[in-house]
């Protein structure tokens, strides 16, 4: 589904991504690991149009989306979360989820300003869907749809961010370090959530950036290790974790 070949991103003299090769198939959960600064988040940003691409190609469902603007990438069915949460904290949980649905919502003046009954019916329907989606992660969270986002604890904010990326049923979901800043208990709960995601959207490909190896071990189908913007090795978590190159990159052995 996603084919990345020779993807290169340079910031001035720094090469953040250096000819990256990567494939992700429908329904697969690909773990993307590597030391800090190895280019994981840069890969997400390049893929979703937030940093300019210096070379290489990105194909999604056969379409070339290399260097496409974020809007076009979103329209293709690629959704993402951010390493540091980018939620609309002064708005409600429902508002945040509906941002994920932006491309499917009608924005004409007639529907929004005058056909208020139709709008109300649509809002009710969307709210029911949103509750159902949140309930997959946490039944308690589903009851807090109308609350301001800033009233939620960290784990629920992460869940809302993941749900926001899921509401439009993306074909490819990019999760940027969802366990960052969470307690071990919360991380365990999050792993269950990732299983729930896979169960709920079996056709969705997921690429997961993660530093917590326990998470990668439990949920990923396949791993890819990045180092200095290059693919170091690829395979099952068990195989990758035994690889001497990987150990050297992570532990700094000579």
């Amino acid at each position: 589904m996603l084919e990345v070949s020779g993807l290169t991103v340079r910031f001035g003299g720094l090469t953040a991504l250096d000819g990256l090769q990567l494939r992700a198939a429908a329904g697969e959960l690909l773990g993307l690991i590597g030391p800090n600064g190895s280019g994981k988040t840069t890969f997400f940003n390049a893929l979703t149009g937030f940093v300019p691409v210096s070379g290489g190609q990105v194909r999604f469902d056969g379409k070339d989306i290399t260097g496409a603007a974020p809007r076009r990438v979103a329209a293709c069915g690629i959704a993402r979360t951010f390493q540091r949460l980018r939620l609309l904290s002064e708005l409600s949980v429902f508002d945040n989820l509906m941002l994920g649905l932006h491309l499917d919502l009608p924005h004409g003046p007639w529907v929004n300003l005058f056909a208020r009954r139709r709008l109300a019916a649509a809002v009710r329907e969307r709210a029911a869907e949103a509750r159902e989606l949140l309930a997959v992660f946490s039944p308690a969270l589903a009851g807090r749809l109308a609350e301001p986002l800033r009233a939620l604890p960290m784990i629920d904010r992460r869940r809302v961010e993941i749900c926001r990326a899921l509401v439009r049923a993306p074909r490819l979901l990019l999760l940027d370090e969802p366990s960052a800043g969470m307690t071990p208990d919360e991380t365990a709960a999050l792993m269950d959530d990732l299983h729930a995601v896979k169960a709920r959207r079996p056709g969705t490909a997921v690429i997961l950036i993660e530093h917590d190896m326990a998470v990668i071990e439990r949920v990923s189908d396949r791993c890819l290790v990045l180092d200095y913007g290059r693919r170091l090795c690829e395979g099952s978590f068990a195989a990758v974790s035994r690889d001497p190159e990987v150990r050297r990159a992570y532990l700094g052995e000579a």
């Binding site: 979103a74 951010f82 941002l99 919502l105 929004n112 009710r124």
Partner: protein, 377 residues
């Protein structure tokens, strides 16, 4: 259990009462007393959560409350029907609020700061001066709004390429340029300005006093006040609906986090420009009618300071809550007129008011609440 209607009706009545009192009293002490009562009521409403009860009650009676507001507005006009000065002030307050609604749409929702509100008011006003008498008045108002939106479109490109302070500077520059242009342009009257023909509707000339008999004569400002309040009411309803719709959500997303919004397909630039144009159109509409009310336009009415007055109305009222604009406009427009001697120092007063509000009540007099979606409890 059904929510009672009386808290909302009481709030409307108190608001109308305060407005009437402020417009009617003349003595400095009386004006200050009205202000003190208003401030005390605000504190009480906050402490006892009466404000929230009133808001809940208003939400539960979506038909009754607008009718009550309209009735109070008409009642206020009738009360002041022979008082030219008070009615002129009421018109000015209503139209400044209308323009502030435009700014509020730009700044409060889309996050585009506009420090050239008075310039767009001016585009509308000069449109009324040039076209008045040649076109039906309603069309003149519409053209004024349209031209103001078009003038704003000139700024679209520079606004999209800048952010924050820099975008604000562009609007300041535009305001100064427009005023200078008006001053040196002889066909537009230069520094002396132009006369503006009054509003006419189906043979009714708004600029003639309404004479019933020898003893009963209503001010010619009565129809203007009714028209201004009606326009304000209709626009307020539309802005409210806009906020409680998918459009309002998209604008909020652009303001709060344009990057996150872009990741979900929101075209931030297009939304900002759309909000900027609609907001400027409201300024232009207000300017055109205000020019007809006063019968005269000249460049000094559209200076940078007047733009700042509009901005301070938005900040005082509560960024993102259109309901707060009306009391804020009352304070900003009526106070300097009532407290003679203050006129010279009015900018000082606004500055102090804005600083106090930002310091003590950063959300403004009536802070924004979470969006109330239609169809959701």
């Amino acid at each position: 259990m059904p929510v009672a209607a009386w808290p909302a009706l009481a709030a409307v009545a108190i608001g109308a009462g305060l407005a009437a009192a402020l417009l009617l009293v003349h003595h400095k002490a009386a004006v200050l007393a009205v202000l003190a009562v208003g401030a005390a009521l605000l504190v009480v409403a906050q402490r006892t959560r009466a404000g929230e009860r009133a808001a809940a009650s208003a939400a539960a009676h979506p038909r009754l409350v607008p009718v009550a507001v309209a009735a109070c507005g008409l009642g206020l006009v009738m009360l002041l029907r022979e008082d030219n000065f008070a009615l002129l002030m009421l018109c000015t307050v209503a139209l400044q609020t209308l323009a502030a609604l435009g700014l509020h749409l730009q700044f409060g929702y889309a996050g585009v700061a506009n420090f050239a509100g008075a310039a767009f008011l001016g585009v509308g006003a000069y449109t009324a001066a040039v076209l008045g008498g040649h076109l039906p008045s309603v069309l003149v108002l519409v053209t004024g709004a349209g031209l103001a939106a078009l003038a704003g479109l000139l700024l679209a490109l520079p606004l999209l390429r800048t952010r924050g302070h820099y975008a604000a500077l562009i609007t300041i520059a535009f305001g100064l340029l427009l005023r200078t242009f008006l001053e040196v342009n002889d066909t537009l009257g230069g520094p002396q300005g132009l006369k503006v023909p009054g509003f006419t509707l189906g043979g009714l000339a708004f600029n003639d006093a309404i004479v019933f008999d020898e003893d009963t004569e209503w001010s010619f400002y009565v129809p203007y006040a009714v028209l201004a309040l009606a326009l304000l009411g209709a626009t307020h309803v539309l802005v409210r609906r806009l906020e409680r719709s998918w459009i309002g959500l998209a604008l909020d997303a652009v303001r709060v986090d344009e990057t996150a919004a872009a990741a979900f397909g929101v075209n931030g630039g297009a939304w900002k420009i759309a909000a900027f144009c609609v907001g400027n159109a409201l300024c232009g509409l207000a300017g055109a009618l205000l020019a007809m009310v006063t019968g005269f336009v000249a460049p000094p009415s559209f200076a940078f300071g007047d733009s700042l007055v509009l901005v301070s109305i938005v900040i005082l009222g509560g960024i993102g809550n259109p309901l707060g604009l009306l009391p804020a406009a009352f304070l900003v427009v009526v106070l300097p007129e009532k407290l003679q001697g203050l006129q010279e120092y009015r900018f000082l007063l606004f500055a102090v008011l804005v600083i106090l509000v930002l310091r003590l009540r950063p959300g403004g007099l009536l802070p924004r609440r979470l969006r109330r979606w239609p169809g959701l409890p």
